[in-house]
């Protein structure tokens, strides 16, 4: 596969280079024509001026942006804290569901019910139930912070999804790996820890990231409990001016965070693939 090892005829290399340069030019030209045509068509739609005014109003964008950005800090804090606990919950539940021995049946049942229930119930209900329900119980010593309970609700909800992702990852590791490990004398725990989990986790990085991007947006659901996060901020601005541009501005901020995350995931994937390939040739 490595071009620097195999001999390539210089003339052929030259023609290949030219062809690839031509392909790039064609691609860029095609893209430019497409963008131009879309721009011309959209800007000529009869309702476009109204849509532009209500969704892409530069003044509104600029005036709402700083406040949106500072409100976004709350989303980021919820997201980071929730993410850590989601990984823990997901992993524990996934491992609980893979326990084989009959004595673990209760744990398996509880873990199964948990994933079934929390994947089936709308996240917004979990948030309402914990955010308004638990403080209403009026228990001594239990905090009634909205952000706290909102985050707990997100952890419970997403923990169920992530548990299934991890379980799929564990199932994707070939059974021979476990057998080989056990026959080498590793304990069940050691097998999980050193053989199965590393492979399982590596396999499920893309779907995990998918869930986290989704979580990033769902942090906005916590706003139903009262705290002002980015989407609520946008909604407030929108309802005052009757102009939807603040939502677009919020979307830009969300995207600015998700795109680097996606690229990071791609890079991570590419790196592990490379490492594996390198290991395979040894």
């Amino acid at each position: 596969m490595s071009a620097d090892v195999a001999y390539v005829d210089p003339a052929r290399a030259h023609s290949r280079k030219r062809k690839s340069r031509r392909d790039v030019l064609i691609g860029l030209g095609s893209l430019a024509v497409f963008v131009l045509l879309v721009g011309v068509v959209v800007s000529r739609l009869p309702g476009w001026p109204v849509v532009q005014e209500t969704f892409f109003n530069l003044d509104e964008f600029v005036s709402s942006f700083p406040q949106l950005l500072s409100a976004f800090w709350l989303n980021i804090r919820i997201f980071i804290v929730a993410e850590v606990f989601i990984l823990i919950v997901g992993m524990v539940v996934a491992l609980a569901r893979t326990l084989q021995a009959p004595i673990w049946l209760p744990i398996r049942v509880v873990a199964t019910i948990y994933t079934d229930v929390f994947r089936g119930v709308p996240t917004i209900l979990v948030i309402l139930l914990l955010g308004f329900g638990i403080p209403a119980l009026d228990l001594q010593g239990v905090p009634n912070s909205e952000v706290l309970w909102g985050t707990v609700a997100l952890v419970l909800s997403y923990g169920a999804y992530v548990a299934e992702v991890f379980r799929a990852g564990l199932a994707s590791v070939h059974p021979s790996q476990r057998m080989a490990s056990r026959s080498l004398g590793l304990s069940s725990w050691q097998t999980n820890r050193h053989i199965l989990l590393p492979q399982a986790v590596r396999n499920v990085v893309p779907p995990l990231l998918n869930d986290f991007i989704s979580l990033q947006k769902d942090t906005a659901l916590v706003s139903i409990l009262g705290p002002i996060e980015i989407l609520r901020r946008a909604q407030i601005d929108t309802s005052m001016s009757f102009n939807y541009t603040p939502y677009v501005a919020a979307a830009v901020i969300f995207i600015a965070l998700t795109i680097p995350m996606s690229r990071f995931a791609d890079w991570l994937q590419a790196r592990t693939q490379k490492q594996r390939r390198a290991a395979a040739t040894v």
Partner: protein, 306 residues
Amino acid sequence: MSRRRLVVVPAVLAAGLLALAACAPNNSGQSSSGTPSPMPTTANPPSSSSVPTPDDPCAKEKLSLVNAGKLTIGTDSPAYPPYFEDDDPSNGKGFESAVAYAVAKNLNFAPEEVQWIVVPFNKSYAPGAKDFDFDINQISITPKRAEVVTFSDGYYTVNQAVIALADSPVAKATSLAQLQAAKLGAQVGTTSLSYITEFIKPTQEPYVYNDTNDAKSALRNGQIDAIVVDLPTAFYITAVEIPKGKIVGQFPAVDGYEEFGMLFQKDNPLAICVDKVLSGMKDSGELEQITNDWLVGGADAPYFTE
């Protein structure tokens, strides 16, 4: 793949868009106005109080309506007391329902010719043709909003009030300064929220809820110290829903934030007719009568000092 075909790709995609665009225009603006009546002289219903002449632009058959022959009115659901009752705007009960039916009557619509549709607040100001003739939903008239929609004249001047649980320290506040340290909540999109941020200017960021119900839950749970709502709602909440609640006080009206208006499609000529009817109702005392019927006067709630 040949080079020619490559060049064709963006053109085909764009052609698809063009095709979409061709069917997109929705001959915008108002949908069909009711077909003009051939015999205007027979059209005067007996109930008419204003006696429209045949060339009166506000004659019922000359109005451009979303649904011909019907007055289509929007409001949100749930529709809260005291503005509506039993979440049913068509029962004529509640202040705004009564106002809407009075306006309809003065435009010579029979109650059966009024139809209600659910219009969430967020949708009421969306661009494009509206599916209601007007929306009546405790919407405050502001100049900024009036750039996008057309408002009728105000039909109610509203004051904002603060509710707290009677046993909380905030319940004893008498000045704005004493409110500033409190954790305040309000419903999103309301002028109550604007009051908090622009008038009270609390030290903590206010809490914002989807509707008054959520704000009430948070208040009852002690998650916030007080909520800001309009005064009629405040009376209803403390009388019926949170008996432990207390109206701490009300604010004097602030310019630009005090009147409820009906919301129309931008430049809908119907607004002019509704304004005419409203001013007639103000002159005749009909509006005041409806207000007294449904809304408790605010005289016994103390005003905050600055």
